[in-house]
Every structure is written in C-alpha cells, then in structure tokens.
C-alpha cells in the first residue's frame, strides 16, 4: 500500500541525525589513515591484502601497520572506555569459524575487503572496487537478515 509522504515525519532525518559524532570522526580517521599510507609510501591500506602478504612475504612496514591497528584500537578503548562494547551475543565457535573461513577465502579470491575495496577503492574511483562493495554489501545483508536467522544464530 502506498501512502502519501508525510512532511511532518522526520524519520529519515532523525535516523541520519542520530548518527553518533564519533561515527563520523572515526570514519574520517580511517580515511585519513588510508590517505597517509598512500601519500607517504604509495601503498593501499587494504587490511586483508597487507595481512596475507605479510604472512607470506614479510615486510616490516606491513607488521607495523597491522600492529598499529591493534594498538590504536586499544588506545581508543583506553581513552573512551564507554565505546568499547560488543552489542551482540557470542555467535558460538562454529559460526565464528565458518565466518572466518569465508572472510579469509573471500578476501583473497576477491582481492580485498572493506578497507581495500571500500575505503581505498571507492576513493580511487576503481570500478572493480565499486562492484566488489555492492556484492559484499548485498551478501552481508542477506546473511545478517536471513541466513543468520535460519541458522539459529543468537541475535
């Protein structure tokens, strides 16, 4: 059923205004980190690529970048402990394992993840990355909205 748009309803505006300030600041920090890595050493800040190449070929800069992510997150949690939450039940060891296997396989085969294709690829206006983001977003929405419920993962 179609209803006329209600101009007094601020649902969408409310949703957008409800985005936490930290959300935007954090997002900008992620973008700035990717820009810094590219301007400084010409590398794409794709976490899956740096992680797996680091495992295979080493490279101190790769391990410093990855270590920086861990320490930076810890620092953020130390400064703003109230932001350090996990607001969903533990899905259990089998779902975590299946999820990890799929993410590992998929990011290797697909050549990137949320950072490489998402933040950097979209920023570079790469067509492949736009396609990648649309595919992994759609698949993620499918699993989280349907598959996860069918599998009985606690929500």
């Amino acid at each position: 059923m179609l209803t006329k748009l209600d101009p007094t309803s601020h649902w969408l505006a409310g949703q957008i205004a409800g985005i936490h300030l930290f959300t935007l600041a954090g997002g900008m920090a992620i973008g700035a980190a990717a820009v810094l890595l590219y301007h400084a050493i010409g590398r794409i800040a794709g976490v899956s690529g740096i992680f797996f190449t680091g495992m295979k070929e080493g490279g101190l800069w790769r391990w410093l970048f990855l270590g920086g992510i861990v320490v930076g997150a810890g620092l953020g949690a130390y400064l703003f402990p109230s932001l350090n939450i996990v607001s969903r039940p533990n899905p259990g060891i089998w779902i975590l394992t299946l999820s990890g296997l799929l993410v590992g396989w998929g990011t290797r085969q697909g050549g990137g993840c949320t950072s490489g294709h998402g933040v950097c690829g979209l920023g570079r206006l790469a067509q492949r990355s736009l396609v990648a983001v649309l595919v992994f977003m759609a698949a993620g929405i499918f699993t989280a909205s349907l598959l996860r419920h069918w599998l009985g993962v606690p929500t």
Binding site: A73, G74, L96, G104, Q109, G110, C113, C120
Partner: protein, 141 residues
Amino acid sequence: MKTNLSALAAGLLFGMGLMLSGMSNPGEVLSFLDWSGVWSPDLIGVLGSAVLVSLIGFQLARRKNKPWFEAEFPVLPMKSIDRPLLFGNLLFGLGWGLAGYCPGPALAGLALGNNEVLVFLVAMLAGGFLQQWWARQRNNL
C-alpha cells in the same frame, strides 16, 4: 625508517578510527546489515566519511610524481571485473554478515579484550591459505 614510521602512524590512526567509529563492535555492524529488525544507519556514516576523506586524498595524490618516502608509486594491476572478484566478494560478504567481522575490526578486537576474535582470525588465516592453495592447484592443472 620513514617508511616504517609512516606505516605505524597510519595503522594507529586506522585502529583508533575503527574503535571510535563503532566498526570494531560486530553488533554495530550487524545492526546495519540486518534489515529484519530495527535498522541502524551508523555504518553509512563510517564508510561515507572514510570514503569522502580518501576520495579527496587520492585525487590530490594524482598530482604527485612519487610518494614522500619511496621512489615511486607501485603500479596497480589493471584487472577487469571477473569471476574471482564477484565470487570472492560474495563469499566475503556471506562471512561478514554471519559474525559481523571483517579483517580490520577482527585485528582491532585483539586489543579490546574480545577473545572471540582469536577463533575468527585463526579461521580467517586458514581460509586465506586454503584459497591460495586451491588457486595454485588449479593453475597447475
């Protein structure tokens, strides 16, 4: 030296951003991906603001001949939109929506007292190596 320090600085900023933005909370990620209940748009804010900054930064970089601390920009392979891209990202998305972790936030979780990421990261490593083994087998046929 400068290369390593820049990578460390970028990593610190990246990890801090993941934490502050809520990306490192898999519940936040799932509340964006799960459209069956109350939907949260926060992740659009994270990705949107990150892409906005990177868009400006990468466009500015086009005017540069070389990075600050390296001799040249590595040439990025120009690949077309192929089946591995589609299939790989499909599998990645399916895994992402199951537990709410992609690689960056899972690493960040190591510092957040969040032990479930250990299981996820070991499986992620296994999945990546399995894929590379499979790809090698396929190429040798």
